[in-house]
Structure formats: C-alpha cells, structure tokens
C-alpha cells in the first residue's frame, strides 16, 4: 500500500562547468512511496517551475534501468543504497518519512559536471572507440550456427555484456577508475570465439585509452562491484588483467 512521506533534499546545483556549484535545500512534500526516485525529482521540479525557478537538470530516459542515462550520488552512493538498482528503479518505499537525502552528480576527473546532476560521460564512448567491438563489416558474416559457443561461456559473456554504461562504477571508485566498465567489454568479447582474433589489440588499446581519458587505476577497493546496477563482478577485471598481461608479453601488438 502506498503512503505519503515528507523529505528534505539537499541537491547539488551548478549552472555550468565554470560555476563552483553548491548545495540547495528543498522540501519534498506528499511523496508517494510508490514513486520512483526520478518521479520524486519530477514532482520537485514541477513545483520549482510554477514558482518561477529553474528545475534541477538530470539525465534520464528509459526509466526502466537499461539505457544507463540516469545516475546521481544519493547519500554517498551512486544510484542510491539498494543493490543492483539504477536510480530510476529506486523507489521511495525505501526511504522513511522525515529523511534527509543528499543528491550530487557522479564525480570523477573524466566526468566533468555540465549542469546540476548532468555530467559528461563521453569518455566512455572514447573507450569503446578504442576497441569495444568485433571488426566485422556488414555482409561478411558466416552462417550463425557455424560457430558453436558452449552455453555456459555464452552466459558468462552475457553477464559481462549486461553493462549499461552508466558510469556508476567510476563514480564509486576512490581512484575514479573505469576498470569495471572496460573489463566488462574486454571480457564479453574475450570469452567468445568471435572476439579472439582481436583480443590482444583490444585490451591493449582500451587500457591505453583509459589512461588517456583521465581514469585512475584499479586498486581492488571493489566499490564498483558493490555499486554496479547490473551487479557485474570484478572477476572481469581479473580477466582483463590476464588478457593485458598475456598481450603485453606475447602479442605482436604490444
């Protein structure tokens, strides 16, 4: 059964990249516990608009946990405190009447703030451009079943491929490392026979791109794994490290 709760929100406001930014406090009244977190922000924004103030900018789109657009740090945790959940899937039934909620953008050197809760995550696209694909042109594929893939291997590849590219792993990491994101793609393709021909080149190139984009290194804090809305395991980081080591010693691409 839904209930109505009252909340105090401390939200990060920042007019643009050059503005230093600050927290502003808002009262959110009459919030139904059936609302999603973003619907709660919608309610706050509607009120701001009618009061003649600027609403809080935040990225969002599918609102069902798959597009990876949304995300903010809620009470210190990217996407909030619930495991395996994007911000749009976090419902207000997980908060209590009278709670104070602190909402800030994802913070990382590679993710500059654009406005309020909106950050620039284009670095993740640059990582993918460095090798997050199999080089196959349209029209040149062999018949699909000529290449059997053991089902457990396909399942493990799918576990990694489930990454939605939200960037929460980077925001959660004390080093602002993109290792979980990068390893998910490296691992997905390294596990499949289709990805093997380019595996060495891919891992070396993507790791170089991580450094170039300003992401930090992994020092095994495991915050990324805890925060990942798709619960992607750091096993994939181990696989990336193995792939990188192998490529670094043995591959002509090194």
């Amino acid at each position: 059964m839904s209930q109505s709760i009252r909340l105090t929100l401390k939200i990060w406001r920042q007019k643009g990249p050059a503005d230093p930014g600050r927290f502003e406090t808002f009262a959110a009244e009459d919030i139904s516990t059936d609302m999603s977190f973003l619907e709660m922000l919608d309610v706050v924004n509607e009120k701001l608009i009618l009061e003649g103030r600027e609403p809080v900018a935040f990225d969002h789109d599918c609102r069902e946990g798959i597009c990876g657009s949304c995300g903010a740090v809620v009470n210190g945790r990217p996407h909030g405190h619930l495991r395996g959940t994007t911000l749009c899937q976090l419902h207000m039934r997980h908060f209590r009447d009278g709670d104070t909620i602190v909402i800030e953008p994802f913070r990382a050197r590679a993710f500059p703030v654009i406005k309020d809760l909106v950050v620039d995550r284009s670095a993740l696209d640059r990582l993918m451009q460095a090798g997050g694909f199999v080089s196959v042109n349209t029209g040149s594929a062999p018949e699909a079943n000529t290449l059997p893939v053991p089902s457990d291997r396909a399942e493990r590849a799918m576990d990694a491929a489930a990454c939605i590219g939200c960037g929460a792993c980077v925001a959660a990491c004390p080093n602002a490392s993109a290792m979980l994101f990068t390893s998910a793609k490296v691992s997905h393709l390294a596990l499949l026979p289709q990805g093997r021909p380019e595996a060495a080149r891919r891992v070396l190139s993507m790791v170089r791109a991580m450094d170039a984009c300003g992401f930090g290194n992994c020092s095994n804090h495991r915050e990324c794994e805890m925060t990942c809305p798709k619960e992607i395991s750091i096993v994939h980081i181990a696989r990336l490290n193995r792939e990188a080591l192998k490529a670094g010693f043995l591959s002509p691409e090194r």
């Binding site: 009618l50 600027e54 599918c62 069902e64 597009c67 990876g68 079943n145 059997p148 590219g165």
Partner: protein
C-alpha cells in the same frame, strides 16, 4: 502528390535480388564525395551509420542522448525473429512473411514484408559475428523461443535484454567507424527541422542541447531513424526523450505521413499506479510463453489470487483462442484484457489489471529455469511494484508501446520528400495495422544493415545533386524558423507546466484514440486537442533560457509538436471507417468482437500530405494488393 511505391516487377521471391541488380552503383572511390546525415542511433540509425561508413560514405550521425548507446532500442526485451528454422518446426521465409502480413491484418505491402523475411537470416548471422551473446543450447548452437502470432519458435534472444545486446552490437560497429574517421558523431543534438533545397532534402537544423546553439548541417541525403510517436499519449513504454519532432517537421516539409492512427497497445505492461507516473514499463511478450493470463470468473471478486481456486479462474485467452492460447497477437490480447476489465473482472487496487501467472511453469520446470529465462524481467517487476512474481502472479494491463504508422516510404525507403530516407519505427512500411512481437528489432536492423546501403547508393548514383552549403539561404531561413519557435515557447510564461499539458493530451488520446475508438469519441477528442493546443500556446510555462542546457524547453518543443500531431492521428482514425489490427472502431466488429476490416473500401495505406497551416491535410491512398496471402478474416482460434 503521387504515391509510387516503386515495387519491382517479377515474382515475389526475386523482387529484391532483381532490384539490387537494377540499382545503380556508386563506385568505391566516389563514395567519399557524398555526405550523408543520419538522425538517430537506435538499431536502424546505428546500423545504417555503421554500414554506410564501412562502404566509404562520409557520414554525420546525430543523437539526442549523450551517447548513441542510450537510444530506446536498448529497452527492447524479448527477441528478434528470423526464418532460420533451427528448431525444425516448419518455419520458412514464406511462413515468416505470411505470419507478418496476417499479423498486420493485411495493411502492409507484400513486397516489403517478403524482403524483410528474406533478410532476417542475414541479420542473425551478422549479429552473431559481432559477438552478440544470444542464448544457446547446451550443444553451443543458437536457442529459440516463441512469440505472439506464430505457432513456432523463431525468436532469437539474449535473456530479456535482446534490444540492448543488438544495439550494443550496432553501437560497437558505429564506434569502430567513428574511430576510423568515416562517421562523425554529434551527440546531444536534437533535429528541429529538415532543410529542403530545390525540392530535395539537403540538410538539417539541429539544436545543441548542451548550449542551445542552432546548427545547420548540409549533406547529399538525409536518413531519419528517429523512432515512433507513442509518447503522444504521455504514458507509454517509450523512453522520455522519444518524440515525433523530426518526423513531423519532415511531414511539414513535404514527406507524407502514413497511417498515423495505427498504434500498438501492448498487452503486458505494469499497470498505472498514480497520477505522478512518468512512464510505463513493459513486461516482455516472451513471458506469455510460460505465463498464463487469467481473471476471476466472478466480477468484483476481490480475494487475493492464491485464494481463488482453479475452478473459479477464467484463463480467457486459452479459452477463446485454443490454438494460439496466450500467444495471440498483441492487438487481440490487449482488447481481450480490456474487455475483461470492462466487465468488472479486473484485479488489483484499480481494477485495471489481469493476472499473468507463472505458478504452473515454476511447478513444471522449476524456479531455476524460469529465473534463467526471465530473471531480469521478474526483478524489474519486483523493483517497481514491490511484489515478488515468483510467489504471487504478476498484474498486467495494456499500454502504448509502438507505432506502426510513420512517414510514408517507397520500396527504397525514400519518403515523398526526395532525398529523405526513413528507417525503422519512424517509417510505416512493414507491420501493417499491428506489429508482431520480435519484429521491430528485425525491421530496424534490416533497414539499416541491409536495405539502405543499397537503395541510398541507387539514389545518389541516379540523381544529379548540385553542391549546396550551409550558407544557402534555405538553411538560414529554416534555422530562423526554429529560433523563432523557441523564442515563442519561452515568451508565453503562462501558468501550466509542459508535463501537465502533455498529460492531459495523453488522456484525451488514450480515452478516445486508444485501444477502442468511436466516431463520437474521436470527434470530441479532436475538438479537445484543438483547445489544448490553444491553451498550450497561451498558458505554458517554460523556464530558463534558449542558449543553455534547458530540459524544460526541450520537452516543450516536443509537446508542441505532439499537440499538432495528435490531431493527425485522430483525423486518420476518423477517416478509416473500418477496424483493422490496432485500429479498433467499435462500429466495425464481428459477432465475436474481433476487428472487422472493410477490404472493399480500405485496403490501402492512407498517406497524409501537409497542406499548410489552418488547412486540412490531404489524404492520399496507396492501394494494397494481396497476391500471395489471401485476404481473410484473421483467426487465432
């Protein structure tokens, strides 16, 4: 306006081969001399951009999000059809073609649908080669499941995230072309208009969503892959940014809009639970492989589901349609769900829901099997509703999901505006009046990977295109109009928010131009939409500035277009005095309450031509000829 579908001659199975041979070619060294503008990066846009880049064209690709990977194709859950016949259960290209034409209630072009079925197998090959992690059998070969409107298993899937995996495949291919310098990517851009020079589409006007700057981009052809217009209803399963603006602007510049009243209401969505609700969430049709749909037999039975004994439950789809059971097509399932709820048998707090029950499947196959097949969907359901579907049946209700209508295109996917190609959900071509499940992914990728690379080349090689530059007066004029519109939106400074007005528009459409339509209701809705539009332009409040990241302004522009477009949907519904597929006019139904077509008068595509402000658009007809699938009353009994 002449509607020439340009369907090639010859026997159906050879039309596409023959056409590909007849299309002129652009020699490889000349391809780099052509600039192609692709709008949208969903399955259709990303696959088109990547494939055109691979061929050597200069591609500029625009996307509304921060990254192409966020396009709404990402949310497609259940699967993608292909006629591989791996399960050996009797499938063929012909049967996929037949099922799709029949599923669409005979309002799609035979030649287009046949081509789609032919291409379907190459899509699976290509996606597997890209590393899309499709589900596999223990022997390592690809697995299939069933979807609505088919009596066999031809749907390939990657858990409940098939759209995501296919889009990431296409996105990877696109990123590869960006790295190779063949595609230039323009993220966070919204296309506000199409620029027409000497009767041909030669550019776009875009707004940079980060700083509000208006940009002009010129090219030799424009490819729109901007998705559907389901968000006209406000509440739909579409993502929040999905909109009709680019397609509607193209319509105003001369591209005919086909069958705008053909909208798909998907039967299995999580029911509405509050007035603040911002969107609806689909529960994949694949769930109907194992889930059984039921309501209590007695109207007003408020007992919790586990207290209702088997004998007092009505599995109404299985009862009414014994051969297809729970897997009847979406339009049929949705209407039946509505019918049960209208009779007072609906369940849940609002009475606007039916059960989708997995108890039998869990007993039969065990929880682990069900979890492997649908785990992420069950989890999504649990997060939203707080109920655990392993323990208690899901509650579902129909919601707006897809739009079969779209910009009219010929066999080459070119609209009536020369040089403007339209792909994926944004065009109207393949699904008739009702799309079958797992066919949208197939169509988007067929258009992008395997059709546009040929037909666009044919256009470029066969057309004389004088050089244009963004300094051409047509660009400045179009950009000025876009700026002027933004100025007007910001100036109103009224008392109602964009969302408030959009919600109201959505209710009007849902009540009168939704699952069930009447002539009186449509007429009333039309008047109401006109009033709302009037109110919008006098009473909307859009805070902030034009030259800034301004999400309220973005929404306002889209809703302003929905306010106009909604009337076109209603006009089209009023003009089509029959029922077919998703368009159900209560005056035209069989004794068993199924849609009754009128093939004498309406066996055609309706394509609307913009005739200027304050004037009724002109309705054109493209007759549909069925030579291979005989016109019959659809039956899924």
């Amino acid at each position: 306006m002449r509607l020439d579908a340009k369907i090639p001659g010859g026997p159906l199975p050879q039309k596409w081969d023959r056409h590909r041979f007849e299309l002129k070619l652009v020699n490889p060294a000349n391809k780099r001399k052509f600039d192609i503008l692709v709008v949208g990066t969903g399955l259709a846009g990303a696959s088109a951009s990547a494939s055109l880049g691979e061929l050597g064209y200069n591609v500029k690709t625009f996307c509304i999000h921060d990254s192409p990977r966020r396009a709404h194709s990402i949310a497609a859950q259940g699967g993608i059809n292909a006629a591989k016949n791996y399960p050996n259960d009797g499938d063929s290209i012909w049967r996929l073609f037949y099922d799709t034409v029949k599923g669409g209630d005979f309002r799609a072009r035979e030649a287009n649908v046949y081509r789609l079925a032919q291409i379907s197998n190459a899509i699976i090959d290509h996606c597997v080669a890209q590393g899309v992690p499709f589900a596999r059998e223990y022997g390592g070969l690809l697995a299939n499941r069933s979807f609505g409107g088919a009596q066999l298993s031809r749907t390939f899937y990657a858990r409940g995230q098939t759209g995501q995996q296919l889009l990431l495949g296409a996105y990877g291919a696109l990123m590869r072309q960006v790295a190779a310098g063949r595609v230039r990517l323009f993220p966070r851009r919204e296309i506000l208009d199409i620029v027409v020079v000497h009767g041909k589409a030669r550019g776009v006007v875009a707004r940079n969503l980060l700083n509000g700057e208006i940009e002009c981009h010129e090219g030799h052809a424009v490819v729109l892959a901007t998705g559907g217009y389901g968000n006209a209803y406000y509440l739909s399963t579409n993502a929040k940014a999905s909109n009709v603006t680019a397609a509607f602007r193209a319509y105003k510049r001369g591209a005919a809009f086909a069958n705008p009243c053909f909208t798909q209401i998907h039967p299995t969505c999580i029911p509405v639970h509050g007035t603040y609700q911002s969107k609806l969430t689909l529960m994949s049709e694949s769930l109907r492989n194992d889930g059984r749909v039921w309501v209590p037999k007695r109207a007003g039975d408020k007992r919790p589901p586990h207290q209702i004994p088997e004998a007092e439950r009505d599995y109404f789809l299985e009862r009414k349609y014994p051969s297809f059971g729970n897997l009847v097509p979406r339009d049929v399932a949705s209407r039946n769900v509505k019918e049960q709820c209208d009779q007072g048998k609906g369940v849940g707090e609002t009475g606007l829901a039916v059960y989708l029950d997995f108890a039998d499947a869990i007993r039969r196959d065990g929880r682990a099997v069900i979890e492997r097949k649908y785990g992420n969907l069950f989890q999504m359901y649990e997060k939203i509703t707080g109920d655990d579907p392993y323990e208690t049946p899901m509650m579902i209700y129909p919601a707006v999901h897809y739009t079969m209508g779209g910009l009219w295109v010929d066999y080459n996917l070119m609209s009536t505006l020369e040089g403007l190609f339209v792909l994926g959900e944004a065009n109207f071509s393949d699904h008739g009046a009702n799309r079958l499940g797992a066919s949208a992914l197939m169509q988007g990728l067929a258009d992008g990977y395997f059709i546009i690379p040929y037909t666009l080349g044919g256009y470029l090689a066969g057309t004389s295109l004088e050089p244009v530059s963004a300094s051409d007066p047509a660009f400045a004029a179009t950009a000025r109009e876009a700026e002027e519109r933004i100025r007007r939106l910001l100036e109103v400074n009224g008392r109602r928010t964009v969302d408030e007005l959009h919600r109201e528009l959505g209710m009007v459409l849902w009540n009168h131009c939704g699952m069930s339509r009447t002539n009186e209701g449509l007429a009333k809705a039309r008047a109401r939409v006109q009033e709302l539009r009037e109110e919008f332009w006098h009473n909307v409040r859009v805070p902030g500035a034009g030259r800034d990241l301004n999400q309220s302004l973005e929404k306002a522009g889209r809703v302003a277009d929905f306010m106009e477009f909604a009337e076109l949907m209603i006009l089209d519904a009023l003009a089509r005095q029959e029922s077919c597929g998703g368009h159900f006019n209560e005056a035209y139904q069989t004794e068993e309450n199924e849609a009754r077509r009128d093939d004498e008068r309406y066996c055609h595509v309706a394509a609307w031509e913009f005739a200027g402000l304050e004037r009724e658009p002109v309705r054109h007809e493209e007759p549909l000829v069925f030579e291979h699938v005989p016109l019959t009353q659809r039956s899924y009994k």
